[in-house]
């Protein structure tokens, strides 16, 4: 049951990324490029994706997940240096190449060598992230 749900969700996610054009780095960078030839597509993708999720969060109230367990609790609204620093680093990489994790995975079959190199570098980044995070904590404590 859990595996079937994972497969369906993954397929919808990958299919949506493909259909929306979000695996095309030109469209993503085109949206971020407010000083160039601006492409509004990403805003429609975000808006379109948020709509079913708004409904889904409403449906979680007073219910349990179909496959058992419980719904994730809303994180405490506190901001920490990890959230900000991490998001800034992520945004820099996103702007440079026009790829974020979802599209990098979805385009595995047609992203060519460049896409593959990006994916390997991203996995390496994920592997060292816990250590980088600890270093950042140390820096934040002394600052």
């Amino acid at each position: 049951m859990r595996l079937l749900i994972s497969l369906v969700a993954g397929a919808l996610f990958g299919g949506g990324l493909f259909v929306s054009g979000m695996t095309d780095t030109r469209k993503v960078q085109g949206w971020l490029d407010v000083f160039g030839d601006w492409d509004p597509t990403l805003a429609f993708v975000m808006g379109g994706a948020i709509l079913p999720m708004l409904l889904a969060w409403r449906l979680t109230e007073g219910r349990k997940p179909l496959a058992g367990g419980s719904f994730p609790a809303l994180p405490r609204p506190e901001m920490d240096h990890r959230l900000i620093t991490g998001s800034v680093l992520f945004g820099m990489g996103w702007g440079l190449a026009g790829l974020c994790p979802g599209p990098a995975i979805a385009s595995l079959s047609y992203g060519g060598v460049g896409g593959l190199i990006f994916l390997v570098a991203m996995l390496a980044g994920m592997a060292v992230a816990p250590r980088v995070g600890t270093q950042l904590d140390r820096l934040a404590a002394t600052a």
Partner: protein, 142 residues
Amino acid sequence: METDWIWGLVGGLLIGTGGAVYLLGNGRIMGASGILGGLIDGTGRGNWVERAVFLFGVVVAPLVLWPLYSVEIDTHVTSDIWVIVAAGLLVGVGTRIANGCTSGHGVCGISRFSLRGIVATVFYILAGGLTLAIFRHVLGVI
């Protein structure tokens, strides 16, 4: 193309439906960096099959849809290998430290009015726009 926004909206609805299925079915937040990252750093060892199956679906769906497209499919990723490597490292490190990316913080976070999700999204969009502006319009390297 003029129809791009319609496909963007359709694709977005599919993405959001995927997130809704994952949430209401498995009780989990559909975040690409979290699902993949948990397999890399070992934090997701307890439910690795679930994660792997999700990622399999993400990779396979475009392969199924591909033949329906008459136009050429191209990600137009830069040919500058150092830009690709730097960007990949930044995205990998950043999304794990921030505990989320465009899908987790963006789609799933904003839709539940999570302050952390909204703040993360504002910061990665600003950083992305600024980085692109500097490297494309000031330095002219991407």
